[in-house]
């Protein structure tokens, strides 16, 4: 009988790049060529002083390790092709119009109530189908990757949208470092549960079964556009925006971009995300922005770009995959997006 004992230098199964990722990377590189031809995004490697852009943004209180990362950030790493059409939302609007039900269901509740959230120290558990799991300080998760600024459209499932300048690291980097096994087919995310800091979790009328849970398919998670956010508007994340660590998946409805993450699990089975659990007829697992598939209670064909005013509701057409179709549509080839909404 042959028993194989691995030598320390041997490659393990987890070192093998899954085919889907290998292919998705090739697709992405292909996409980049298309992009420079002028369609969706402009990927710019140039570092630009961001300080001038965010003069009016109040300074936060970031942990010590955040400052050097900020100084070394890659500004304008991904920006909208048409910056007049996709103008940045004012910081004040982006921080006072939030859906973060852990702090209340009103749009202003998170800004009012999120001060009680303790974001330092912060650790994240990475577990499931990985070889390099465990509990990690946020600093250690962020350390190996350079901060990148990604200016993305954020399309809420409620048919409004804003343009937000995020600062984050590629989700794919973090997953790769955890060394997923071949069984890892999905990524599951969990938000902090702390009713003493999050008054919404204390409500006995809440329908969400805490922790708030989200999920992505492995190839979605490895897509270069998917990032883990640490900051916005040239500073760290304000509490009401999901501090200190959140997901940003710009081609999906906003509720997929889970906030204040404390656990990332690589799993074999498709996770059930919180909104799907509450109302499976209204919210699916994929939740890709799709103007052709209505929410049962409203049309998704258009969106209100915020801020707007009474005299100009600023209604614009919603684009397939929120305008990122060129980059991501290949992930869903052959899928019935009406069924997998």
């Amino acid at each position: 009988m042959l028993i194989k004992i691995a030598k320390p230098g041997d490659l393990r199964e987890s070192n093998v790049t899954p085919e889907s990722i290998y292919l998705s990377r090739r697709r992405f590189m292909g996409g980049v060529v298309g992009l420079t031809a002028g369609a969706g995004l402009a990927l710019a490697g140039r570092a630009q002083a961001a300080a001038a852009d965010y003069q009016d943004v109040p300074a936060g209180n970031p942990p010590g390790w955040f400052k050097p990362k900020l100084d070394n950030a890659e500004w304008n790493s991904v920006v909208p092709a048409d910056r007049d059409l996709d103008k940045l939302a004012p910081f004040d609007d982006a921080t006072h119009y939030n859906n973060f039900y852990e702090f209340g269901t009103g749009k202003g509740d998170p800004a009012r109530n999120a001060a009680s959230l303790k974001t330092q120290p912060w650790s994240v558990v990475i577990d499931g189908e990985v070889n390099n799991g465990g509990r990690f300080d946020l600093e250690d998760i962020a350390k190996p990757s350079r901060l990148q600024e990604r200016i993305y459209r954020l399309r809420c499932v409620e048919a409004w949208s804003m343009v937000i300048p995020w600062l984050g690291i590629p989700l794919g980097d973090v997953i790769q470092r955890a060394e997923p096994t071949s069984k890892a087919k999905y990524v599951r995310f969990e938000t902090l549960v702390a009713p003493d800091q999050m008054p919404g979790q204390d409500s006995s009328f809440a329908l969400i079964d805490w922790p708030y849970t989200e999920g992505l398919r492995m190839d979605e998670a490895m897509h270069p556009l998917a990032i883990l956010g640490l900051g916005m508007y040239g500073r760290e994340l304000p509490n009401q925006n999901g501090a200190p660590f959140r997901l940003i998946v710009p081609w999906k409805y906003g509720f997929k971009s889970i906030k204040s993450i404390v656990r990332i699990s690589l799993v074999e089975e498709q996770p059930v995300n919180s909104w799907q659990a509450i109302a499976p007829d209204e919210y699916g697992f994929y939740a890709n922005v799709n103007p052709g598939v209505d929410h049962p209670r409203w049309s998704q064909a258009t969106e209100r770009r915020l801020p707007n005013s009474l005299f100009n509701p600023n209604i614009i057409d919603t684009r397939m995959f929120n305008g990122y179709a060129e980059e991501v549509s290949s992930l869903y080839q052959g899928m019935d997006l009406r069924k997998h909404f």
Binding site: A89, P90, D93, H96, Y97, Y101, G104, T105, K107, G108, W160, M162, G200, S203, F205, A206, L207, I208, I278, A279, E282, D294, P296, R297, W298, S299, R304, L306, P307, N308, S309, L310, P313, I315
Partner: protein, 210 residues
């Protein structure tokens, strides 16, 4: 109470019912209503409808409990305020959410159950509003009372409309529903008959003191 006091009372109620609308509008005017002022008005006025409706429905039990004429005097006014808020709510939806695309309003009414329910409730309020005058009362006779019982249906439809809008936290809805249910319970005949007796029981100890 002299006659002018009742006139003052009605004017005071009129102003009080107007105050929320003025307040919300002023918040919009000074840019304190957030990045989506239209939706701010839509949602606040929507809750205002329920307030007005519940206040209107509380007048009959209050009259039975106190026999104060003032409550009866403002019943029509508050009913019409409920209608006014409801019309304003629909206007906000049409203008600020649909951008005055009326063909979309048509398709939304047909397709979205919660909007159908809202429109039905509004239709009920309009039917009561246009018949809330002496001429209609005379013309309709007995049927007038029957027609105005539609208000109970409107309450149910309004609460259902609201229930389908809230999805994650039922606290606020439960409060409105509880108040609505309480006001309905007070109308169940055996309980309704107790109200005037309750008044006497409240009065008696006072007399003893005097």
């Amino acid at each position: 109470m002299p006659r002018y006091a009742f006139t003052l009372w009605r004017i005071a109620v009129f102003i009080a019912a107007l105050v929320p609308l003025v307040y919300w509008s002023s918040q919009v005017a000074i840019n304190a209503a957030g990045p989506e002022p239209g939706r701010y008005l839509l949602l606040n006025i929507g809750q205002g409808i329920l307030w007005m409706l519940l206040l209107t429905l509380s007048l009959t039990p209050l009259t039975k409990l106190t026999r104060w004429k003032g409550f009866t005097l403002i019943r029509r006014q508050l009913g019409l305020w409920t209608l006014t808020y409801a019309v304003a709510h629909l206007l906000c939806y049409s203008v600020f959410i649909l951008g005055l695309d009326l063909s979309r309003l048509g398709s939304e009414i047909v397709r979205r159950p919660y909007i159908i329910v809202g429109m039905l409730a509004l239709t009920g309020l309009i039917a009561m509003g246009v018949t809330s005058n002496k001429w209609s009362m005379r013309k309709l006779g007995k049927r007038w009372k029957t027609l105005h019982k539609v208000v109970y249906l409107v309450l149910g439809l309004g609460l259902l409309h609201f229930l389908w809008v809230v999805r994650a936290d039922m606290e606020q809805w439960s409060l409105y529903a509880a108040v609505g249910a309480f006001l309905m319970i007070l109308r169940i005949p055996p309980i309704a008959r107790q109200l005037p007796k309750a008044r006497q029981q409240i009065k008696r100890p006072r007399r003893a003191k005097a």
